[in-house]
């Protein structure tokens, strides 16, 4: 399941579905709204493009890291502190592949998928700066 959606997902169910006969390790990454003195977070995506990029990243991760399965659910909309933002579930034969595949996916998302976050603080709001703060003049993708 690759999705950009407002709804949360049941991680336990995703883990169960990720298990294949050849699965020896499942790694879950759950990105959560952290309380950096904020009330809530507002997430926005260039949805059609972001979804395609998530699908591409999933295929790449699966092939490079020999994964049995990949799920990526990125939430958008208004989220409270503690809510899930991004859930990545990967399964693999062995732990090394599962950890590295999971990490590959989150780094690729941070680097290039058109999604933005705005933190709503007590007295206003601020856009979260990207970790890769360069535009197309500098980015290889």
């Amino acid at each position: 399941m690759i999705a950009i959606q407002t709804e949360d997902v049941d991680i336990g169910q995703l883990i169960n579905a990720a298990k294949k006969r050849s699965t020896g390790a499942v790694v879950v990454f759950d990105g959560v709204v952290r309380d950096d003195d904020i009330r809530e977070m507002d997430l926005e995506a260039y949805e059609e493009v972001a979804l395609k990029e998530l699908e591409k990243i999933a295929v790449e991760a699966q092939s490079i890291h020999n994964l049995c399965s990949v799920d990526i659910i990125h939430r958008i909309g208004r989220l409270a502190v503690g809510e899930n933002i991004l859930i990545i579930v990967v399964s693999a034969g062995h732990r090394k592949e599962a950890y590295e595949g999971s990490r590959f996916i989150i780094e690729a998302i941070k680097a290039g998928v058109p999604i933005w976050k705005k933190e709503l603080t007590r007295d206003g709001s601020r856009w979260v700066p990207g970790e890769h703060a360069h535009g197309s003049g500098a980015v290889k993708h």
Binding site: G31, L43, E44, A45, Y46, E48, V49, A50, K52, H74, I85, L86, I106, I109, K110, A111, G112, V113, P114, I115, W116, K117, K118, W127, V128, P129, G130, E131, H132, A133, H134, G135, S136, G137, A138, V139, H141
Partner: protein, 92 residues
């Protein structure tokens, strides 16, 4: 000939999201954005530097593919194109 220009995040707040606009044949990517941005001083300054070049962090897409800012003057836009302009991504 019409194209859709989409702004996201901070740029969406400045320009108000999607803009559908008529263009004349041969309009460059750069020309199109400048024309739209020119109507909004704050928006223009967010996207272009004092020399009228795209600010380094600005990301451009044409039909979902990234466009190098430096080639924006050479690339022309065509009827039905979807152009996107946005600041650095911060998903995850």
């Amino acid at each position: 000939m019409t194209v859709k220009v989409r702004f996201f995040a901070r740029f969406r707040e400045l320009f108000g999201g999607d803009i559908i606009t008529g263009i004349s044949p041969g309009t460059s990517f750069m020309g199109l954005i400048k024309e739209i941005a020119g109507k909004n001083r704050e928006g223009y300054d967010a996207i272009f530097d004092e020399n009228g070049a795209f600010r380094e962090f600005v990301i451009l897409m044409k039909n979902g593919k990234r466009i190098d800012c430096t080639s924006a003057t050479e690339i022309s836009v065509a009827d039905g194109d979807e152009i996107a302009v946005f600041p650095p991504v911060a998903g995850g």
